[in-house]
Symmetry: none
Subunit: 412 residues, 2 copies
């Protein structure tokens, strides 16, 4: 079954509203094993809506629409569907009675224009909307289905989950889709793709890589008769990816780097102290965003300049000899954090832009250091990026350094 | 000029990614006075991409594309454009040299397949991408324009603003739309709407209010022949809004609360020290996200528990008597931050969830305090919300308290 999604509303074309309905519906359809080939946003304009519907009718088996079912003249989804199919809209007495009752319950009388929310065409059935005035339309003709729902996300989602999904699942027939996303740090996208090339040739499960803000995502997706088979197929590929990429896989699905670090800190019973400069608390607040990280993080010292670093116990000679942006200084900061906050581990990060004058090209440098019972470990990374983005990357680098050390030091 | 927007990527059709590029571009095009008639999301599939481009070429004067310019086999935007126009892609030696230099700067060698990012067709010019490997394409033929940019939002936005908008503004010609967004904290949306009701009846300039994460936004939009007239029309309404809402207007357009606070700190020459607990560095990193804020913020102490608060100089009796979640304790924290970090002002925040057992209703409490030469000022706010969202609100509350005190104390 080929499907497409249409979101209706001029606000979408003006950029005043981000369309979150379409991705919600797309994910749900994909879980039902229904392929989504097209998504589009269309304005409140009957000609363009009918045009879009006609195209959808030609190329898809199922069109899912949200928006345009309100009572005003701008709400034209019903009119466009009637136009497409050459059918007449008629007021249905039972729907009108329900609509009037809805207003009575709210202690108001129904504005007359709302009566168009009680109309149907011969090929349409009403989909009840218990929390709003607009019922949806389930339209079935010539082997095709159109589902039209209100645009308000809470009304749409309720109608979709309770009334539409069960019906579509029956219409779409057997089979389910299951996927897991493995998240990777410390490797480039091309490198990951090259290493996993053999696995990408499989058509079930499929494997796809994406470069994201928090590293490379590798998504493994299987189609099967039932959940058990799909899970087993995904697990086999996941094991192979983990064998190839090793400790670079830091998490699965919604797990963040902070979650991964927090989990390891809690498992090892390790307390952590942080000192950061250019990142102004971003490292600390990232660690604090994980529940377990929050419990192991004893405190953080944000020291943007040399004076305060000295105050917190970083030796001035260290900075004078090696400069702020060095593994030596960041190591001394980790040591000072550990001593000052009396923790098992100290974690520190510094970053800044370098270059420029001669080369014309500025790049960012991020140095991270950890001090623990085994001494100091430090890394330096260079990025061609903006200052703001450099801070984000420096925080990721610091968390990933800590994560890999914890992995090595504290296995069960 | 009729335009349409296409976002490319199979993740969009699977609902794994919300398309924020399209609304960003839609808003920007609308500000340029260019009508957007269609938005669509297309998968990484050359046949369907070419089909979508062909339709766009027939009905629009301008097609703006983001995504599909990466180095992998799935990145097919260039191929689809070449296919549409029947032109051949060729590697350009100057683009290839730049690309190789990009990898050299990162200390890596270029994977050979990346060379496709150095190709053009005869109708295309490269749009430089200073922060990524993929240059954009500016394609002009038969009175139509296609702009293709990378899908990574930070790369796309930079390319769009710096390279594409100036060129499009020239191409789009007469008539402009200009708008400014005034941002408000400390007032509810209904209150703002009621106060501004008279102004919303005007059709040019129009005025609209939106509830956003960082307060209420009031958007004033004027259409005029030229920028001067439009600016003047918007300025008159802005003055009226400011007269009505006063100091609650904290910023305009992209200005954040951090920017507003940073600007005031810099103007008054005031240095700031921060102490925070439950927010784990979020307050400090928010202040650090503004350039001026960064210069005035001497340091921050993140002390999630009582022990560390004592270590930083908060008196234990204060906490024992009033509890952690109190204006007294947060005031003492502000005092301690000021003393410990030797700053003009100390700013502190604590927050936590309360209630539950009997009422069944849990709510969040945020206490903020500032200590300066005039003594301590503190506020308490209650929210029905989640723990994560409470931290965000607590940070906003703290910044807004500081902002209003600075406004009162330091006028020029």
């Amino acid at each position: 079954m080929k499907s497409e999604i249409m979101s209706v509303g001029t606000e979408l074309l003006l950029g005043q509203l981000v369309d979150t309905n379409a991705p919600y519906l797309a994910e749900s359809l994909s879980n039902l094993g229904i392929d989504v080939y097209w998504i589009s946003q269309v304005g409140d304009n009957q000609e363009r809506m009918t045009q879009a519907l006609r195209r959808g009718w030609d190329r898809s088996d199922l069109i899912v629409i949200s928006g345009g079912l309100g009572p005003t003249e701008d709400d034209l989804t019903r009119e466009a569907i009637a136009d497409l199919l050459g059918e007449q809209m008629e007021v249905k007495p039972d729907l009108e009675a329900e609509l009037r009752a809805f207003f009575v319950r709210r202690g108001r009388s129904m504005p007359e224009r709302n009566v168009k929310q009680a109309t149907l065409i011969p090929s349409a059935q009403a989909i009840p909307n218990p929390i709003g005035t607009a019922p949806g339309w389930w339209v079935q003709r010539d082997g095709r289905i159109i589902v039209a729902m209100p645009g308000v996300p809470v009304e749409m989602k309720r109608m979709w989950e309770q009334m539409v999904v069960p019906r579509l699942a029956r219409a779409a027939g057997s089979g389910i889709i299951f996927s897991r996303t493995l998240k990777i740090l410390g490797l480039g996208e091309s490198w990951v793709e090259d290493e996993l090339r053999e696995l990408t040739h499989s058509s079930n499960p499929t494997l796809a890589t994406y470069a994201k803000q928090d590293g490379i995502h590798v998504r493994v997706t299987a189609k099967a008769e039932n959940q058990e088979d799909a899970s087993r197929m995904v697990a086999a590929v996941e094991a192979e990816v983990r064998r190839i990429l090793g400790e670079h896989v830091y998490g699965v699905d919604d797990e963040t780097v902070s979650d991964a670090v927090g989990r390891l800190l809690a498992k090892c019973g390790t307390t952590l102290g942080v000192m950061e400069s250019c990142t102004f608390g971003e490292l600390s607040s990232s660690l604090g965003s994980s529940l377990e990280g929050r419990q192991q993080l004893v405190g953080a010292l944000v020291a943007p300049d040399e004076g305060l670093l000295r105050h917190f116990g970083v030796e001035p000679e260290m900075i004078a000899t090696h400069g702020m942006l060095s593994e030596e200084t960041v190591g001394a900061m980790a040591t000072a954090a550990r001593a000052h906050l009396k923790t098992d581990l100290g974690l520190a990060v510094v970053c800044g832009m370098e270059g420029g004058q001669e080369s014309g090209q500025r790049f960012g440098v991020a140095c991270c250091g950890v001090h623990g019972p085994r001494g100091i470990a430090a890394t330096t990374n260079r990025y061609t990026t903006t200052e703001r983005d450099l801070r984000r990357r420096a925080v990721l680098d610091a968390m990933d350094l800590l994560r890999r050390l914890l992995l090595a030091d504290c296995q069960d």
